[in-house]
Structures are given as structure tokens and as C-alpha cells.
Amino acid sequence: MITASGITKTYKQRGNMLGARAVPALRGVDFTIPKGGAVTFIGESGCGKTTLGRIVAGLETYDSGDIVIDGTPMSTLKHRHRQPFFRRIQLIHQDPYSALNPTRTIHQTLAAPLALRAKQTGRDSAWMDERARELLALVGIDPGYVLPRYPHQLSGGMRQRVVIARALTVDPEVLVADESVSMIDVSLRLGVLSLLKDLRERLDVSVLFITHDIATARYIGGDGELYVIYRGMVVESGPTESVISGPVHPYTQALLSAIPVLHGVELPGPDRVVPTEALDESHADSGCLFARRCPFVTAECEAAVPALVSDGAQAHACYHPQRRSVIPVEALA
């Protein structure tokens, strides 16, 4: 189990001679990834969700807050002692093209981490070969075909499966999937998604799914928790199905309203919410971060930042929470 509390991260943007401008990417994010569970973060690009994934995977540092991995707070460890913990959390990159070394065959790509594993557990090279085949079979590709090949000889879907197999070589507890299917052909996408879903059940790995595509989030983590993140802050969270069907924060509603409607199959939701302005990072930070774009804004919203409060199952950071039905409804039902 992994618990993160109060994670903040600020990037320094190189400014003029008078000094650098601080750009907050995360403003105190808390969440828990239970064993075998699914946690989803959704938001627009630049909302900090990618940074969050990289921090959880140990590829980026954070300014304050703490990450507790299986009971060990990372803040108590020196940097170089954290690696074995973060190795249990593997990031699946968005781009399967750059995630595999073009100069190495799939066999070489898998052999390196497996050799490390074999050394740790005192196994031999026969085990490595067997394990490589086992893992490739697990992710649904033919080891005999794939092993001697270079990444460029494989399709996008296959490449992403190889990336997943490579992550599994170190027996991780959590897979962080950051927009992991957005660059894969539409007809192959669902295959990779159902693989991730399958791995949750078969290997009991948890999935931290980071995306802007809420429907795929529902497909993988329909039974898990959903966090809606906006400009580095969680504005709404709760069980995935209940947030999707009954969002209370206007930003969540705007995100869900923006999903294209399959006309002919679906009807648009009756209360669709459209933001009044486009995302602008330079908007004031004093009140609710969404106030400038919110169609339901009041004076209160601009005074102070609303806190994330729970109403039982769902939590939201809004002064005027109201359930709206915004997602498309089945037309034929």
C-alpha cells in the first residue's frame, strides 16, 4: 500500500534578470493506493497529473509532504536508499516508441532487469529466459516472435505490451499508467486496457491511471477511486462510478460535459457545463482556482480557497456543490 500526503511541487521557470517565476505544479495532494486497487487521476494537461505520476514512480523529487511505501516514510530515508522502494512502482510511459531502446532487441531489453532480479534471488540464466517468455505470454504476445526483434518491427500495441512486460520483470506492486494508450491505434487500444485490467486481477498489482480520457479510466478502474485534479489541487474525489454519474464540482462537470457524444447511440446529458474561459495558468491563486472559468461563480469563491470536504462517499472542494447530470445517456435504452 502506498500513501501520499500533502505532496507539493513547484517548478522554477527561468524568468528575467529580476528572478525566476515559481510555477506550482502540485499544491498538497493526498491519496492512497490500496494493494490490488485502482486509482485514477484525471485533469487537463498542465494540471500536474503527469508530475504526480513521476513523483510516485520516484523519477521526480517533491518539495514537501511524504510518500509512505509499505509503512516506510520516504522522508526518513536518504535519497539513494529510496530506490528499492520506488522500484516497486513502475511507470508505463505514454509513448511506447521512445520507451524502448531502438538499438536493443526485446530480448536484450528484458534481459537487463531480469539479470538484476536473478542476482538478487540467486537464480540462473535459464530462469531468466523462462521468465522472459512467461512475462511476454502474460501480456499476450508470442515470445518466439517478439524476443529476437527490434522495437521498430513491432506495432504500437505490441510495443506497449513489451513495455508492460518489462515493468513486470521486477515484480512491482503498482503500475503507473500515464496516458498509456493515447498513442495507440483505436482498435488496439482496448486490448492494452483490458490487459492492465487483467493484470490487476491476476497479479494483484495496483494501477495508478493518469489520463484525460475518463471513459478509459472507468474501464480500468471502475471499482476504484477517482481524483479530479485542477491546477495542482484535487477538486473532487470519490468512487469512480459515483463521481462520473454524479459529479458535484463544476470543473468535474465541465470535464465530463466535454466528452464527445456518440450521436445515434447516445443523447447528450441534460445539464452540460461549459467553462466561461480557457485555462490560463496566470489566473489568480487567491480564491477557488476554478473561479475565473466557473459559470456558477459567486463573490465567496474569489475570497478564499475552498477546502476538500467529504460528504460521506465523495469529497469536493466547492462552495456551491450541486449534483448535475452531464454525461451522455444511452439513446436506445
Binding site: 482496448l190 475518463i214 445517456v329
Partner: protein, 336 residues
């Protein structure tokens, strides 16, 4: 000869081949498709389906090593664009056919302001009244919810992805083209920005009386804005018809599979099922028989040898042996 009304477009038996070490391979294999005046048509397909090649053909802009081998593209008021050359072709691009390129976000010149690029565009098309052009551009940008003056004075890096996409649309429309082609207009944009751009496309389409073609890999995008939808696979249009009908009652097994593979926000999560196999690339498109047969659940013997002819029935075109069998006998093209 600038038109003020929406032109119709008829693509007939268009074949585009790419020269490779393995010989000339067809990216488009005899595609026929018509765009009714004043409608928004969507082309959906995966990578390698030939959708971008088809879009480029409307400009007669297929790049080497590709070439148009056969077929015609008739555009009202312009004639067969395949036969246009040199200056005539250059003038037609922009004036009659506006094109918003894939990744329009990155197709602006980083060293020049948007306004400068607009003036360059005007001059290269011999516009005398440049102030009027600027005024048009400002009002178009204003229409799309941007501060026109500020945007024209900006460099590419000062604009967000959604703003650049709008600038791309403005540049395609400002010369008063009435046929507009948008290639993947919303890739790499966020959901909310995507929704805004699609809304703008639809509104501007109606206000200016355009014929619009949208090329996308995203069924949702096509569903949201188009009136008519063509599904492409392996260099063929396998299904074409009114959007709501194609989505609501797909006939071609590929369209059916594609729609079933889209995860949805409501209903049974496990209702989505993956399509087996993978899309063909230029080199693996079968030269004989149906291009989809390897992945098809309705495959029959004739699929291996005969490329199905598109059959049109009640405004819907489907190219599939099995579908033809079930409903009516295979109708040769001449009778369609």
C-alpha cells in the same frame, strides 16, 4: 471565380500509390466518396487507413514518393483538381480549398508574428486590400473567442495549443475558401479545449456556408460534429452514411467492431470488446480480396479472392460481401 456558396466534392475511383523498395504500394485503392454541399463529413480510420492521403488528395498535394495514379477529384467551381498544375493549383489552395494541417499547433513559423504570416499569405495570393484581410482575420478570431488584435501580434510560443489550432482554422478560412479540410483538428488537445474547438468548427461552418471535411482517428470527435461519416480501412472507404445512422446501426463489421471497442461512460463496463488482430500497414494491405478479412468475424470464402464493391442502399454505402448477402444479392456498381 471565387464562389460564395458551399461547393460539392466528388472523388471517383481515386488510387494513390507510394513508391517503396518493394514496388508501388496502394495507399488508396479506388476510393469513391462524395461530399454534399454544405455538410460536414467525417473520415475516421486508424493509422495506415489512407485517411490523410485522401484529405491531401483534395488539394492535389500528395507528397512524393506518393502519387495519384488514377481517378478524379471534382470540386464545384474548380473542376478536376487532379489535373490542376503550377500556379492554378497554388491559387486554388487557400482561395478555394482551406486546409488545417495535422498538428496545426506546430505549423506556424516561430520567427514571425501571426499577423506577419497572415500578410505573407495575402500577398502570395495577390490580395490588394490587406487591411481588409487583417480586419477579416480579427473578426474571425473574435468569433472564435480570441482577442484578434492580440493574437495577430503574438508569436507562436505565446499562444496555447487551443489558440494555435484556432489560428490554423482562421488561416484556412480567411481567404474565403468554402471547402475546408481539417486533418486531426483536436489531437494533443484537452477534452475541454477539444469541445470548444469542435463547437467553433460547427458554428463557423454554418455561419459561412462551408463544405467541411474532418479527418480523425477518434470516433467521438466525428460523432460530435459531422453530418455524414465515412469509415476507412486499408485504403478503402468501407462504410459511408449519415453519422447517426452509421453509429446507431453500423453495417460493416469493421465499423461495428470499432464502435464496440470504445469504452463508454455509462452502461456495462465490460460491454466494450477489443477488435482482434491489427490494422494493416502500407506493405501488408492484401492485394487481392477484402482488406478487412483477417480480422473479420463474418468472413466467407469469397472475401479471400474478391475485393467487395461498395453498394449504396437508402443513402448508405457499405463494401462488404457478407452484408450484401444478408440483405440483398450483391449489386454490381453500375446499378447502384
Amino acid at each position: 471565380m471565387t464562389r460564395t456558396s458551399a461547393p460539392g466534392v466528388r472523388v471517383d475511383d481515386l488510387t494513390v500509390v507510394y513508391k517503396t523498395p518493394a514496388g508501388e504500394l496502394p495507399a488508396l485503392g479506388g476510393v469513391s466518396l462524395s461530399l454534399a454541399p454544405g455538410t460536414i463529413t467525417g473520415i475516421v480510420g486508424e493509422s495506415g487507413s489512407g485517411k490523410s492521403t485522401l484529405a491531401l488528395s483534395l488539394l492535389n498535394a500528395v507528397q512524393s514518393p506518393g502519387r495519384i495514379k488514377n481517378g478524379t477529384v471534382e470540386i464545384d467551381g474548380l473542376g478536376n483538381i487532379v489535373e490542376l498544375k503550377g500556379e492554378d493549383l497554388r491559387k486554388a489552395r487557400g482561395r478555394q480549398v482551406g486546409y488545417v494541417f495535422q498538428a496545426a499547433q506546430n505549423s506556424l513559423n516561430p520567427l514571425k508574428t501571426v499577423g506577419k504570416q497572415l500578410l505573407d499569405l495575402g500577398r502570395s495570393h495577390d490580395f490588394d486590400d490587406l487591411p481588409a484581410l487583417l480586419k477579416d482575420a480579427r473578426s474571425l478570431l473574435g468569433r472564435m473567442g480570441l482577442d484578434g488584435g492580440r493574437v495577430l501580434d503574438s508569436y507562436q510560443h505565446e499562444l496555447s495549443g487551443g489558440m494555435r489550432q484556432r489560428v490554423g482554422i482562421m488561416l484556412a478560412l480567411v481567404l474565403n475558401a468554402h471547402l475546408v479540410v481539417l486533418d486531426e483538428p483536436t489531437t494533443a488537445l484537452d477534452m475541454i479545449t477539444q469541445a470548444a474547438i469542435l463547437r467553433i468548427v460547427r458554428e463557423v461552418h454554418h455561419e459561412r456556408g462551408l463544405t467541411t471535411l474532418i479527418v480523425t482517428h477518434d470516433m467521438g470527435v466525428a460523432a460530435e460534429v459531422t453530418d455524414s461519416l465515412a469509415v476507412m480501412y486499408g485504403g478503402r472507404v468501407v462504410e459511408h452514411g449519415p453519422t447517426t445512422e452509421v453509429l446507431g446501426a453500423p453495417r460493416h463489421p469493421y465499423t461495428k467492431g470499432l464502435i464496440r471497442a470504445i469504452p463508454r461512460l455509462s452502461g456495462d463496463i465490460d460491454g466494450a470488446t477489443a477488435l482482434p488482430g491489427r490494422p494493416p500497414t502500407l506493405g501488408t494491405i492484401p492485394l487481392q480480396g477484402c482488406v478487412f478479412r483477417e480480422r473479420c468475424p463474418m468472413r466467407i470464402a469469397v472475401c479471400d479472392t474478391v475485393d467487395p464493391v461498395p453498394v449504396t442502399r437508402d443513402a448508405r454505402t457499405v463494401a462488404c460481401h457478407a452484408v450484401g448477402r444478408l440483405a440483398t444479392p450483391v449489386v454490381p456498381k453500375e446499378y447502384a
